[in-house]
């Protein structure tokens, strides 16, 4: 792939994205609700596409393709179980939205602080989710760095890819906050879907002889990839450890959880979630199909995460499709990372920064301090060049499981206890960290143990809390 073409595609992407971001900036008043929640006036279609672009990251076209390549159909089950996890957004969403709107909350941490009547709950929540989301965000930059490096055959160095992604993130988050992020997300969601459809059709129809031939080839050449445990990668324990954190993704990940505060009313929220469910189902099928296609065409890859870039490089795929896919993957990564950075900066502002700072100053803090600082943290983490996109993504979600009981309990718990929330989040996060550090306390059942301990601590501490606590 010619380096000039790559730069041209990136320049077009940057130009269109920035034009979208600047176009929606007009008329935007500077306030926290405007900046972080787009004034609660986002059209449902933009909101649904933005939700899709935020959820589906570089993980899909790199990590999920790689996971399918390595483990087969289990990757489909894992991803569709994630999609079904929108159940939690459907369950918690209306109560969360109502509480947020009633109290004018901007961040999920603020809602939790109000529900538990203790600001420390929001602060601990903000610190925990930030700690676990920085590696996940860095994975997005890693994806772009690898992709450009492989496709340009090393002429665009890995750090250059990271810096490019960083520029887009800083630019599109600071222009108009969620308005510009959502507008560029919607554009990027379209690019992600259209480019992956183009690629999968070319791979299956032109390179593999059509869908019937493709199904037949996979069934006869790689039958063990069509069942679980199949080739041995997806043991039940691996499958559960990978999928359980993602089953709770829609409430455990603040960048998507915060989006439930955005709709103007529940009707808009319903349309947003419905739109996303359709988008997610189609996008998942396309990505998994591509993974099977890569398995047939490139049987001896050492690093499955490089299946998509290698496919683009090794086969006579038209340049326009290649460039479109490259922009699609960059889109997926940037749209996820900028939403996370925006959400984390709102958590820092509302849940960590002392109260009493005027709104105008808070916005300046967000734009010129928190967003650049978070971006730098993500950049330095990404310089570590961690290889396993899929595993890093999922291990970040493992830590986020520790906040799930606190979130569900805030809206459905009979006796809400701030102590229960604090202890549950802290012990759950510590257990996740220990397990990520290699300590196998529960015999390798990482996700169930984090969720089990956090839930158990929440429930038991809640039972022991004195009645009437926290004070009304």
């Amino acid at each position: 792939m010619s380096e000039q073409y790559l730069w041209l595609a990136i320049a077009l992407y940057a130009g269109w994205g920035s034009a979208f971001a600047l176009a929606v900036r007009r008329g935007a008043r500077l306030s926290l609700i405007e900046y972080f929640l787009a004034g609660r006036k986002l059209h449902w279609l933009i909101a649904a596409l933005s939700y899709g672009a935020t959820t589906y990251s570089a993980f899909m076209m790199l990590g999920l393709v790689g996971l399918t390549y390595r483990g087969g159909v289990g990757a489909l089950g894992f991803e569709l179980i994630y999609l079904s996890g929108l159940f939690w957004a459907v369950l918690v969403g209306p109560k969360f939205w109502e509480a947020g709107k009633r109290h004018g909350c901007v961040s999920p941490g603020e809602v939790l602080s109000l529900e538990y009547r203790n600001p420390l709950v929001g602060t601990v929540y903000a610190l925990i989710v930030s700690g676990f989301l920085i590696p996940y965000t860095s994975v997005q930059l890693t994806g772009i760095g690898y992709l450009l490096e492989v496709l340009s055959r090393g002429t665009i160095g890995y750090p250059v890819g990271l810096l490019l992604a960083l520029c887009f993130i800083i630019l599109w988050t600071t222009i108009a906050g969620l308005r510009s992020v959502a507008a560029t997300d919607a554009l990027q969601a379209g690019i992600m879907m259209a480019s992956s459809v183009a690629l999968v059709f070319f791979v299956v129809v032109r390179l593999l002889g059509g869908f019937s031939a493709f199904f037949h080839t996979v069934e006869t050449t790689y039958p063990r990839w069509l069942s679980v445990p199949g080739n041995g990668f997806f043991t039940f324990r691996t499958f559960l450890n990978l999928s359980l954190p993602w089953f709770f993704f829609s409430i455990s990940n603040p960048q998507v959880f915060q989006r439930l505060l955005v709709p103007a009313n529940l009707g808009e929220m319903r349309k947003t979630i419905t739109g996303f469910l359709g988008y997610g189902f189609v996008y998942t099928l396309i990505t998994v199909t591509l993974g099977f296609g890569a398995l047939v065409l490139l049987p001896d890859l050492k690093n499955p995460d490089l299946a998509t870039p290698t496919l683009l490089l090794e086969f006579p795929i038209p340049s326009w499709i290649v460039l479109f896919v490259v922009v699609g993957i960059i889109s997926a990564a940037v749209s996820t990372a900028d939403s996370i950075i925006l959400t984390l900066s709102s958590l820092f502002l509302q849940d960590i920064l002392p109260k009493g700072v005027p709104e105008r100053k808070r916005l300046l803090f967000a734009q010129f301090l928190f967003i650049p600082l978070l971006c730098l943290a993500v950049f330095f983490f990404a310089l570590g060049r961690f290889n396993l996109i899929a595993l890093l993504s999922v291990t970040s979600s493992l830590g986020l499981l520790s906040v799930v009981p606190t979130i569900v309990g805030a809206f459905f718990g009979r006796r809400k206890s701030d102590r229960a929330a604090l202890l549950s989040m802290i012990l759950g996060a510590v257990l996740a960290l220990l397990q990520l550090g290699g300590v196998r306390i529960f015999g390798g059942w990482t996700a169930p143990s984090v969720l089990g301990v956090a839930s158990g601590v929440y429930f038991l501490t809640g039972l022991l809390a004195p009645r009437g606590h926290p004070p009304q």
Partner: protein, 53 residues
């Protein structure tokens, strides 16, 4: 609906690792998980219909 949905999710974990573990065709776990996702989406749509402000 809550329990119907959770039962469906339990099946999505159990069936592919038990009765479908020897079916090494697209008509096995691949088809099953697709049907699971469609049913899950339909249930979610039904739950959302009951929302009111």
């Amino acid at each position: 609906m809550f329990f119907v949905f959770l039962s469906l999710v339990v099946l999505a974990y159990l069936l592919p690792f038990t009765v479908l573990s020897q079916v090494q065709r697209f008509s096995g776990s691949f088809l099953f998980w697709n049907i699971f996702a469609i049913l899950a989406i339909l249930i979610l749509l039904r739950i959302m219909r009951s929302w009111h402000e």
